[in-house]
Amino acid sequence: MTMEENTVKPGLFEKGGKLGWLHSTWDAFDTFLRVPATVTSKGAHVRDSIDIKRVMIIVVIALVPAALFGMWNVGYQHDQIMHDLPGFWNQFFWGLWKVIPLYLVSYIVGLAIEFAGAQIKGEEVNEGYLVSGMLIPLIVPVDVPLWMLAIAVAFAVIFGKEVFGGTGMNFLNPALLCRAFLFFSYPSAMSGSQVWIARRCGADAITGATPLSYMGEGMDAVTNAGYTFWNMFAGTVPGSVGETSVIAILIGAFILLWTGVASWKIMVSSVAGALFVGWLGTAFGATDVPAYTQLVMGGFAFGTVFMATDPVTSAQTECGKWIYGFLVGALCITVRLFNPGYAEGMMLAILLMNTFAPLIDHCVTSSATKRRAKKVSIA
């Protein structure tokens, strides 16, 4: 697989070359295709084979099961109401046809801004958007108008990331920021019961409420609407494209945990936080939805696995990760219990905790410093 030594990289794109102003773009495609020939100049002479491209591609791979399931589910949900898409493959390809435009918009708008930003700063293009671009179509309703999505992506990339200096410098998860922008700017396209099931061009909206929207009325309402623990676990219910199937999300979680790309501490503590508040809710009569059912409803699982664990915007210290994850889970269920008007608490819980993560880390590092200062030296 190795190529000959790279001595003939076109001078055209090098700094000072005719198209030198496109250097960042050239470099992005060049290093995308082939490992760069750079050798270590200072410090450790050998380096681990892992790089950010590899980290990001693993997250993308982990998202594939949820994305594929989401595509089929788009078709399946349509068929459940309209009965015009018989068979698995019909449903899958119809869903694929619905989801692909979301991906095109997400990647074209997002990457264009990333490339332009890198070009202006004269830096290499960051790989972070490979993941954000993969996430965004999975956390929006399938029928979201593409122009809204484009504006939201632009907002999230520019104001969520680029103004802070790009991937690694942002403090809010860009994909969630995109969803929050859509939610607060165009609430009618993002909530209610008419947006979750894809319709045919020009047809009237199809009503199909998500399990969460029945939650305020209690577990009986959820069950009466036909939602059981197991079909919510499998994911054959309406919802955002990629968030419904806990099975597909667990496959992704396994990949992320096995490779060590995502923090198991955040995932475990987020589940613990959700169960704790869910249990409090049932114990004090705020709801009759069992705590474990909360885990398979709405965006909780997807958020816990793919969003809360974003290494840049979550807590950085190991102890901080426990606190951060627990609060994400706890806040998510708190929002669900006390705000039935907008029952999807995960997005707000994670964004809120993103802003608090630096504070958590500050507390953890300061207490460690105090502890160190007290250490008795035995010499």
């Binding site: 002479h45 681990d48 084979s49 980290v55 591609i57 060590g260 790309v261 590092t365």
Partner: protein, 446 residues
């Protein structure tokens, strides 16, 4: 033993080319270099000029700030050339070796010496600069008395010389060296097992470090577990190499820097040990490398050693030369290829965990471009110290003295975070960042 230090974190880099436990030859060099650049905090003033005759132990350079601190010639001969770099920075004094004459400093029994007498002998013989002072890793200040002196009697660095083999004949000299420096301050020695030849050293507190993973052998890691350095404190560290030379100085009265040097690395045609002096040219290792392959010559190990080039000279503190290939090959879609069995990664993102015994022919490729810090948990896993590496690095980058103090700048030298640099997916030059922080501290605290 009560003095056990148990360390769990760390990483052994499975690089091929470990030195075979045999002495290949004795290198009698034509030219030997005295390099002031090996010593942090030493501003050199020349005491010789080209053509001067010197003996082994004759002063060659003195420190401008403290003229008592000398660098002496390891061989007798004639000063051949004074090598200067940019802005006339003094890089090396080359000495053409002739004869075996040495300055006689007089043999002394270290047991009956006083601290001042030990200091004076070390200063005169040019062995003083082998004492490193922490914080900051500079030459020890002879006017200070440190809190303690620390010695690591083993190395866990990649392909490092085997201490039991390399110092087999020097145990007596090392004991004399320990006895001598114990007059100045309490000595702590760390060994990796109770069976070590150095576990029975007298005049020192012996600690056993229970860990087989790098950087357990780094003296900085050991200090942080025995007696962390706080603001205002100083400790000194000595290597076995320096202790052996100090011991030989007192036992024989002469400067003897000879050492067994491990020739290692995946690009070494033949590995093993050579008898040599610091400052020998690496070109004297002919036959150990293939001149037709672009090879990097490292004085020291692959993590913290210095790239000295094919015309370079062995460093004062090193008893290891590592030869690795320059990695300028470009692999197609390397980041996406799921297999890549020839690539080592400490993360599970590759499949090198399937082959825990495999040794890799590593080269100098960075395997990726420089990015901002993204992952947060990879660094702490390879650093068995009570510090937050990324916070310390960011404080160094920001030049924030308060934060650097808070996050433990006094306890570390760049070598302690070398593994963080190795595993960093963002490919930052972490050791250089830490050094820039230390340089700033030195400037501000002066």
């Amino acid at each position: 033993m009560s003095n056990n230090i148990v360390l769990k974190k760390g990483l052994n880099i499975p690089i091929s080319g470990e030195a075979a436990l045999e002495t290949m030859k004795t290198i009698a060099p034509d030219v030997v270099a005295v390099k002031p650049t090996d010593f942090k905090g030493f501003s050199p003033r020349l005491m010789v000029k080209e053509g001067d005759k010197v003996l082994a132990g004759s002063p060659v350079l003195a420190d401008k700030q403290n003229p008592d601190i000398l660098l002496t010639s390891p061989v007798s001969g004639t000063v051949k050339e004074i090598v200067r770099g940019e802005k006339r920075k003094l890089l090396a004094v080359l000495i053409k070796a002739e004869g075996k004459d040495a300055v006689d400093f007089g043999a002394k029994d270290p047991k009956v010496l006083k601290a001042d007498e030990v200091k004076e002998s070390l200063l005169k013989s040019g062995l003083w600069p082998s004492i490193i002072q922490r914080p900051y890793g500079v030459i020890a200040n002879p006017d200070l008395t440190p809190k303690a002196i620390f010695v690591s009697a083993f190395s866990t660095a990649p392909l490092a010389a085997n201490a039991e083999f390399a110092f087999k004949e020097d145990v007596k000299a090392i004991q004399a060296g320990v006895t001598a420096v114990s007059k100045i301050a309490k000595v702590h020695v760390c060994v990796n097992s109770g069976n070590s030849a150095f576990a029975a050293l007298q005049d020192a507190t012996v600690h056993t470090v229970i860990s087989q993973k790098h950087p357990a052998g780094n003296v900085g890691v050991q200090i942080s577990h025995i007696s962390p350095i706080k603001k205002g404190e100083t400790v000194w560290t000595l290597s076995l190499l320096s202790l052996a030379a100090i011991g030989k100085l007192f036992l024989g009265g002469k400067l003897d820097l000879s050492r067994k040097v491990a020739v290692t690395g995946p690009a070494a045609l033949k590995t093993g040990y050579v008898e040599a002096l610091p400052g020998i040219p690496v070109s004297a290792l002919e036959g150990c490398f293939d001149p037709s392959i672009e090879t990097r010559f490292i004085s020291g190990d692959v993590l913290s050693g210095e790239n000295i080039g094919k015309d370079g000279y062995l460093g004062f503190f090193d008893n290891q030369v590592t030869l690795i290939k320059e990695g300028r090959e470009r692999e197609l879609l390397g980041w996406a290829n799921p297999l890549r069995f020839n690539q080592f990664s400490s993360s599970m993102a590759y499949f090198s965990w399937l082959l825990p015994k495999k040794k890799y022919n590593m080269d100098t490729n960075t395997h990726g471009g420089v990015r901002a810090f993204v992952c947060s948990d990879v660094y702490g896993k390879v650093l068995p110290m009570d510090i937050f590496p990324v916070y310390l690095i960011k404080a160094c980058l920001a030049g924030d003295i308060d934060k650097m103090e808070q996050f433990g700048i006094y306890e570390v030298l760049p070598e302690d975070l070398a593994l963080c640099e190795f595993v960093d997916p963002s490919k930052n030059d972490i050791q250089a960042m830490i050094q820039s922080g230390i340089d700033l501290m030195l400037k501000e605290m002066a």
